[in-house]
């Protein structure tokens, strides 16, 4: 039986997007969401929280999304945790670069709450099916 997605760590510096994304995931998907405003904060709380999936903004002050992902991966228990990026940049090379660096997927902003949940579900399904393989 597949493992269920429960805990999502959201790393996003924009307070509005933090709120809407959290609400979308909580209300639309029924997930437990922990919000961090920066990469550094995420690294601090992730060890204790141990998320099933991390949703990261790309452009953030200080540590950007990519750096945050690499820092998180070095934490115990997070080496294989799926990381999904959330970005307003639609350029193909940016998307390809994120996937090459080990992201599970890239969700382009803006996105409807329903669509966001649907995309997260699809990615999780893909992730767990590959885990089983």
């Amino acid at each position: 039986m597949r493992r269920a997605l429960k805990r999502i760590l959201l790393v996003e510096d924009d307070p509005d997007i933090q709120l809407i994304t959290r609400l979308s995931l909580e209300v639309g998907g029924g997930y437990d969401v922990r919000v961090c405003s920066s990469g550094a904060e995420a690294v601090q709380s992730a060890a204790a929280y141990v998320p099933d999936l991390v949703l990261l903004d790309v452009m953030m002050p200080g540590m950007d999304g990519l750096a945050a992902m690499e820092a998180l991966r070095r934490l115990p228990g997070l080496a294989l945790t799926p990381m999904v990026f959330f970005t307003a940049n639609t350029q193909d090379q940016v998307r390809q670069n994120l996937l090459r660096r080990g992201a599970l997927g890239v969700i382009v902003k803006p996105v409807e709450p329903n669509a966001l949940v649907a995309q997260i579900r699809a990615l999780w399904q893909h992730h767990t099916s590959s885990e089983q393989v």
């Binding site: 307003a88 193909d92 803006p110």
Partner: protein, 841 residues
């Protein structure tokens, strides 16, 4: 040289003779000396003998004195006296013998004195014996006086002996020296004689060789002379005042077929026949009157054929100045005459040929200035045969004033040998006053013995049309140059087989050099290209050369003179191929697009920033409205307003996405990642993904497959984007309850995907603008249907990038079918896709 050799020989002889005389004299002297030496030796022996005899004689005197003292007899006395006489006589003889040596003479005199003293002492002894007895006499004999006399005598004798030995030794030494000198003299004389003898032999040999060569030369000269005189082609003879032949050469015998004895001393009429004689009689008379005569006649030869003879009679004058005969030189010029005739015929032929070719012909006598112009020549200028004067002035006066000096200079340069050919162009005034461009060419066909030109022939060709064409080409080139300068383009022209490339001035300017035309090797141009761009450029060129791609179109960076990189857009195509299709020549242009690239970069940066900055607040709006719509308990009118806000915010997102897509596709920055895609599966996914949207319009989507798996090389996401646009359009424009059919089929080697809707169809007037950006058949449609007006433009751009084709068929009132075609996976040319900005993942 001969003179000095002769002198040399004389000198050798004289020297040899003088040397032999000297040598003889020396030997003569030597012999005399030897004879004298022998005589002196004899004399010396005699002197020495005589000295021994004198010593004995004195001893005899002494002995006889002692005998007298003791015996006191007369007989003893007598013996004493005889012995004294012998002594004196011996000394006298000695004195004669030594007569030629002064020292010996002095010694002989001393000896005579000693002998006289001895006689005195003996006399005293006799008296003492006689008067005082034996004892007194013996005492006297023992006295010092007596002993002194004896010693004196012995000393002088000894001195004479030594003197004689010394003289003898001197003589011997002299003889030895002389003999050695004579030996050396003989040796040197011998060597000198041998040397002189060798020299004389060499001189004699040389003279003999020279004489031999001189004789050979003479023989050769004689031979040449015989050959020359024998091979003279002319007939040469001498005729005297009585018309008799006095001398002739072999050619005369040959011509007349007569032996020599039938010619000399015979009358001319007899030798050459009366008819011939009569025919030249007047010339003979004139020559005999002292005039040099030249003539040409045709005469019958002994071979029965007619011959042309050219004769020259040169009068011969005696010391009084009277003409006494003449030398005649007659040459057979039959062949020359025939050649001249052939030449005339040939001239007629080539004149005819040139006229036939449309050229006018001129034939000019350079000395007289008379020129013959052909009919065509005159026609070219619009003149009838009799309207154009046959003179150089006529030609010169019609040359354009601006061309006159050059035309004359070209002609002079040729005639004076400064130019190897005569070919010049000038304008000539026609009869009607118009000007025609003429190409004049010619050559000297006849010169005198000094090489001075006598006759020149040539042609006139009307090149007015060609000159006009050239002027037109120049104007076109000038326009092209100006256009190139204005557009800052560089033209290139590549010879494919040699790899040589010509580039116009703009190229060197692009590289930061002074403007100049460049001829470069392909490899040297590649060396300028940025390493990251070389492969792309090479692929594009190869595709164009092989004909895979109809044109060559590539952007790359090149390094300028100051080390900066400049973006170049190179565009061209193959303009000629050989029979087997290999490219021979490729031409095109290079444009400096660095500024455009910079603007592009700035624009991309701007768009990236704008898109991010727009999307971030939009994310909040879309997210918030999405959440609001789902909230329960809102008033109905509030729900309606929230839905309106959500729909329009979604439309704004689509618009932004579409604008960004168009921008990316447009600016070539979007490189589509290629992957094998199975269209059947893709279409099924697309239908599923878009059915929700279609449901809003009450439209169902169905897939019709007319074949098995259809693999193409494309990009899944981009094809999904195309399908989303086509399906949403079909759904929006179909009536509620309609079916939209998606059809997959293979037609004529391509895979075709069609989206068939039963909508209102596209009006004819809108059809040409269907794929234009923001094009809508009805401006109100955009708002009503929620479209952005960019969907079909994006579809076309994507399909183009994938190397496919997109189009539609539509009939108003019956519906529309949009379709795109892609080549099956195995047939897609990778190079072509890369060239169009698509890259394999």
């Amino acid at each position: 040289m001969k003179f000095s050799f002769r002198i040399g020989i004389y000198l050798v002889l004289a020297t040899t003779i003088a040397m032999l005389i000297t040598l003889g004299g020396a030997y003569q002297l030597s012999v005399t000396e030897q004879v004298e030496q022998a005589s002196a030796e004899t004399k010396s022996q005699r002197i020495l003998g005589r000295l021994e005899e004198l010593v004995s004689a004195r001893e005899a005197v002494e002995s006889s004195t002692l005998s007298y003292i003791i015996g006191h007899s007369e007989r003893n006395l007598q013996r004493m006296s005889e012995n004294e006489n012998d002594l004196r006589a011996g000394i006298a003889q000695l004195a004669r013998l030594v007569g030629d040596d002064a020292e010996q003479q002095r010694h002989a005199a001393a000896l005579a004195l000693a002998a006289a003293a001895t006689a005195d002492l003996v006399q005293q002894i006799i008296e003492l014996r006689q008067h005082q007895g034996v004892a007194a006499a013996v005492a006297f004999v023992s006295s010092p006086a007596y002993d002194d006399n004896e010693h004196e005598f012995e000393r002088v004798v000894e001195a004479m002996r030594q003197r004689e030995h010394a003289l003898d030794a001197d003589r011997r030494k002299r003889i030895v020296v002389r003999t050695r000198q004579l030996g050396q003299l003989t040796l040197w004389s011998g060597l000198l004689t041998i040397g002189l003898a060798l020299f004389a032999a060499a001189v004699i040999n040389r003279q003999r060789e020279e004489r031999r060569l001189a004789e050979a030369h003479l023989r050769e000269r004689e031979k040449q002379y015989r050959l020359v005189t024998g091979s003279v082609p002319a007939m040469i003879c001498y005729v005297d005042g009585a018309h008799r032949m006095r001398f002739h050469n072999y050619a005369i015998e040959e011509w007349l077929g007569l032996p020599a004895d039938r010619i000399d001393d015979h009358h001319l009429a007899e030798v050459i026949g009366t008819a011939t004689y009569t025919s030249i009689l007047s010339e003979i008379e004139r020559a005999l009157q002292g005039e040099r005569v030249e003539y040409e006649r045709e005469q019958q030869g002994t071979d029965g054929r007619g011959h042309y003879l050219a004769g020259t009679f040169i009068p011969d004058f005696d010391s009084g100045g009277r003409s006494v005969g003449f030398f005649a030189m007659i040459i057979d010029i039959t062949e020359r005459k025939a050649a001249e005739k052939a030449l005339r015929a040939s001239e007629e032929r080539w004149k005819f040929a040139l006229e036939g070719a449309g050229d006018g012909v001129w034939d000019r006598n350079i000395q007289t200035g008379e020129v013959v112009y052909s009919k065509r020549y005159k026609e070219m200028l619009g003149f009838a045969e009799d309207e154009f004067e046959n003179s150089r002035e006529e030609w010169e006066s019609r040359i354009h004033p601006q061309d006159h000096a050059r035309a004359m200079a070209d002609l002079d340069a040729y005639l004076q040998g400064r130019s190897p050919t005569y070919s010049t162009e000038f304008r000539m005034r026609c009869k009607d006053g118009s000007w025609k461009w003429i190409l004049a060419r010619g050559m000297v066909v006849s010169r005198d013995a000094l090489g001075t030109p006598l006759r020149m022939i040539g042609t006139h060709a009307d090149i007015s049309a060609r000159v006009r064409q050239q002027e037109e080409i120049s104007r076109v080139n000038e326009r092209l140059d100006l256009a190139l300068q204005g557009s800052r383009l560089a033209i290139w022209d590549a010879d494919v087989s040699s790899g040589r490339v010509y580039l116009s001035e703009g190229w060197s300017e692009m590289l930061g050099d002074k403007p100049r035309e460049t001829y470069a090797e392909y490899a040297s141009l590649v060396a300028l290209v940025h390493p990251d761009d070389i492969e792309r450029g090479r692929t594009a060129i190869v595709a164009a050369l092989k004909g895979i791609s109809p044109e060559y179109h590539v952007e790359y960076r090149v390094k300028t003179r100051d080390g900066q990189w400049k973006w170049i857009l190179s565009h061209g195509r193959v303009v000629s191929r050989d029979a087997s299709g290999h490219a021979l020549r490729m031409t095109g242009t290079n444009a400096d697009i660095s500024s455009r690239k910079e603007i592009e970069r700035m624009k991309n940066e701007f768009i990236s920033v704008v898109s991010h900055e727009l999307r971030t607040p939009l994310s909040s709006i879309v997210g918030s409205l999405g959440l609001l719509v789902r909230m329960q308990g809102l008033r109905e009118d509030v729900q309606t307003l929230v839905r309106v806000a959500r729909d329009n915010s979604q439309r704004l997102v689509r618009l932004i996405n579409d604008i960004l897509d168009v921008e990316k596709l447009d600016s070539d920055t979007l490189h589509i990642q290629l992957e094998p895609v199975e269209l059947g599966a893709l279409l099924e996914t697309a239908i599923q993904a878009n059915q929700g949207y279609a449901d809003q319009y009450g439209v169902s989507l169905t897939l019709t497959r007319r074949q098995g798996p259809a693999w193409v090389e494309a990009n899944f996401d981009r094809l999904m984007q195309v399908m989303a646009n086509l399906l949403s359009n079909a759904a929006k424009f179909s009536p509620r309850g309609a079916h939209v059919e998606v059809r997959l089929e293979q037609i004529q080697g391509v895979v075709r995907v069609s989206v068939v809707d039963p909508g209102p169809g596209i009006p004819d007037e809108f059809k040409p603008r269907v794929f234009d950006r923001f094009a809508q058949a009805d401006s109100t449609t955009t708002r009503h249907r929620g479209g952005t007006g960019l969907g079909l433009a994006i579809c076309k751009m994507i399909i183009d990038k994938l190397g496919g084709k997109i189009d539609f068929e539509s009939t108003v009132g019956q519906g529309t079918t949009f379709y795109f075609e892609l080549r099956p996976h195995t047939q897609v040319s990778q190079a072509y896709l890369r060239d169009r900005g698509a890259v394999r993942t």
